[in-house]
């Protein structure tokens, strides 16, 4: 009933801007931005924000995206205005957006504001952030059922966790972000997903979100399973001493193709899909008690 009422009110705001009270949003910089009416022309400079807008069914309001936004497919047809950290200010201005959604870490915000554009800067880094950002964008775009969309995503993560066989619980996992070697720690977005899946991250929270590790640390921790993007997977077993790691010895290696790796690393609405991808791999690789190295490609 309330939802219905809010929906109606949303439409009133959209259709009768002169009578509306406007929209006010406080972003992650602590800046309060006021709009006379909910923005209709949006430029998004962060893939996870692009995905959030589309998840709320407002894809049609996007008029431009950054070069890394590639999901859903329809945003690939939109004009690209450079990267999130190095956008073409001119191209953004030329699109006459009502609002620019971007990360707080980008320096471009001040430049865009100086040119008279409204900027809402949001920085999703954790599961909680994904929820908060979704609520904020829902509020900004006057989408009444943002809460419901979030609950569905959250339920998706829980479902992925429940789908795992008991034997997988406690599997010790190393998630390599890139060959530095940089790892995804327990406190990172990826680490939170792993925790919810009930597996043990070998990189504890106090090392930070994405620490650059001494490779010896991984050999010592001797993880049962390694998750890695396809581009970083090459030659892992040939690294000095790594061939002895249980995960590599027993071929328990989850190699995610580029498309899937994108899903895993973006703190956005596809986190349920990310959890499912990890769960699929976990139940395929980690649950088998006796590994057969023969015929199994990493």
């Amino acid at each position: 009933m309330t939802r219905c009422l809010r929906g109606v009110m949303g439409w009133v705001f959209v259709c009768l801007p002169l009578l509306s009270y406007g929209v006010t949003v406080t972003d992650d910089r602590g800046v309060t931005v006021t709009f006379e009416r909910s923005p209709q022309r949006i430029v998004s400079l962060l893939p996870s924000l692009t995905e959030t807008v589309c998840e709320l069914d407002q894809c049609h309001r996007l008029v431009g995206v950054d070069r890394y936004s590639n999901y859903p497919a329809m945003v690939q047809r939109l004009p690209q205005v450079g990267g999130g950290l190095d956008p073409s200010v001119e191209a953004v201005v030329a699109l006459r957006p009502d609002v620019v959604l971007m990360a707080t870490s980008s320096r471009a915000a001040e430049r865009l504001q100086a040119l008279g554009l409204k900027v809402v800067a949001l920085e999703p880094r954790s599961h909680k952030d994904v929820q908060r950002v979704m609520m904020k964008i829902g509020q900004l775009l006057e989408v009444p059922d943002a809460q419901k969309v979030w609950r569905a995503i959250d339920a998706g993560v829980s479902a992925a966790a429940q789908s795992l066989p008991k034997s997988v619980r406690g599997t010790r996992v190393y998630f390599e972000v890139n060959q530095g070697p940089y790892a995804a720690g327990e406190s990172s977005f990826i680490g939170e997903t792993l925790t919810r899946l009930g597996v043990k991250n070998i990189v504890p929270a106090d090392l930070g979100q994405f620490p650059k590790l001494n490779p010896e640390y991984v050999v010592r921790a001797n993880p049962d399973l390694i998750m890695v993007g396809q581009r970083s997977a090459a030659g892992m077993a040939q690294r000095p001493g790594w061939a002895q790691i249980r995960a590599l010895r027993e071929q328990r290696l989850c190699v995610f193709p580029v498309e899937q790796a994108n899903v895993l690393v973006r703190p956005g609405p596809r986190m349920a899909e990310a959890a499912r991808l990890m769960a699929d791999c976990l139940s395929a690789k980690a649950s088998e008690k006796t590994p057969d190295a023969k015929g199994r490609k990493p």
Binding site: L207, L213, N214, P215, R220, Q230, R231, G235, P298
Partner: protein, 359 residues
């Protein structure tokens, strides 16, 4: 002048390298941790001994030896460059050869990877053969070394061409800087076409000894030995050159071919070090200065000693990089830049207050 003193310093270099190597074996992801104990008496903890053996033998030892070899190569390259161009500021960096080497390595990786986006990620499609910047397969290491060498040679030649010979110091340094910047930009341009590998390559460009295994260490040691012998044979021409071209000629030295050979030594040692460990700053510059501030000697001794000093410097930096914030790691190139840069500033400051000019 004082060969006995040089020999004595050489011994200090060797012994401190050995002492640091012992320390390097004891510093790892948990900070200082003596694994020699369990290795000595494997009977008491058999499973611990196996782990200790693996970590010491496959990770810490090659890494420590590799750091020494890379430092020794850079120290040698620095001494050769400074003698060859009669310029105390010459080093692998300022002449553009390090940038050339890294461009060579980046291009080789992209080419081996079959084009865009494949830096270090083709093993799935290539029948299990890994082509990555941190790969340890022998042919990859040798190929990357070759690419680094080629890039370094071309960069030095380009620098020399732009400065019209090594005669004019200011022009030489300026063109070295220009070549370095342009080739560095070229490397970034190459990487732009494979954006996903940018981060891995970035770790490489900050200098990293993290994945140096026996293959890399062996390649570096062999090249170091060759370069060192060659440089020792050619040292006389550097001594002659330090008195001016005409003196060198009048001593009956074949200056031109010997110079070319020294440029080859410079490029080979720089290229090899860069291909295995990435861009490691200031070791090549600081090591010869360190030696020169302690002793006045012939180029043969200078090159040997600064090679030893470079090895000790980088080995020490590597131990610090591993130990300071274990189990996390600092990029060793950043550490050498801070330490080496600070040391050079101090040296210059001291030189100014004592003698009124930079040493």
């Amino acid at each position: 002048m004082m060969p006995t003193r040089a020999v004595w310093m050489g011994l200090v270099g060797v012994w401190s390298a050995l002492a640091l190597a012992a320390l390097g074996v004891c510093v790892g992801s948990t900070g200082f941790e003596n694994l020699i104990g369990p290795l000595w008496s494997p009977a008491s903890h058999p499973d611990q001994a196996a782990m200790a053996q693996q970590i010491v033998w496959e990770i810490r030892l090659p890494r420590t030896v590799g750091a020494w070899a890379a430092g020794a190569l850079l120290g040698l390259a620095g001494a050769v460059a400074q003698g060859l161009f009669r310029n105390p500021l010459a080093d692998p960096y300022l002449l553009g050869s390090a940038s050339g080497a890294s461009l060579g390595v980046a291009m080789a990786l992209v080419a081996l990877g079959g084009g865009a986006g494949m830096l270090g990620g083709v093993s799935m499609m290539n029948g299990g053969v890994a082509v990555g910047v941190f790969s340890s397969a022998l042919w990859v290491r040798i190929g990357l070394t070759g690419a680094g060498f080629l890039g370094a040679v071309l960069a030095v030649l380009l620098t020399l061409m732009l400065s019209r010979g090594a005669g004019h110091t200011l022009r030489l340094l300026l063109s070295g800087v220009v070549v370095g910047v342009v080739l560095g930009a070229g490397t970034h341009l190459v990487l732009l076409f494979s954006p996903d590998s940018l981060q891995a390559m970035q770790a490489f460009m900050l200098g990293s000894t993290a994945f140096v295994g026996w293959t890399s260490a062996t390649v570096m040691l062999i090249v170091w030995l060759a370069c060192w012998l060659l440089a020792g044979l050619l040292a006389r021409v550097l001594d002659g050159l330090s008195l001016g071209d005409s003196t060198a000629f009048s001593l009956g030295l074949a200056v031109t071919p010997m110079r070319a050979a020294l440029v080859g030594v410079l490029a080979l040692s720089t290229g090899t070090a860069v291909a295995q460990t990435g861009l490691i700053a200031f070791v090549g510059l600081a090591a010869p200065h360190l030696i020169r501030s302690l002793i006045k000697t012939t180029h043969a001794h200078l090159m040997m000693l600064s090679s030893l000093a470079g090895g000790v410097l980088l080995m020490g930096a590597d131990i610090l990089a591993r130990g300071l914030i274990a189990p996390q790691e600092l990029p060793v190139g950043v550490l050498t830049a801070v330490l080496g840069g600070g040391y050079l500033l101090w040296l210059m400051h001291r030189g100014q207050t004592q003698t009124g000019g930079a040493s």
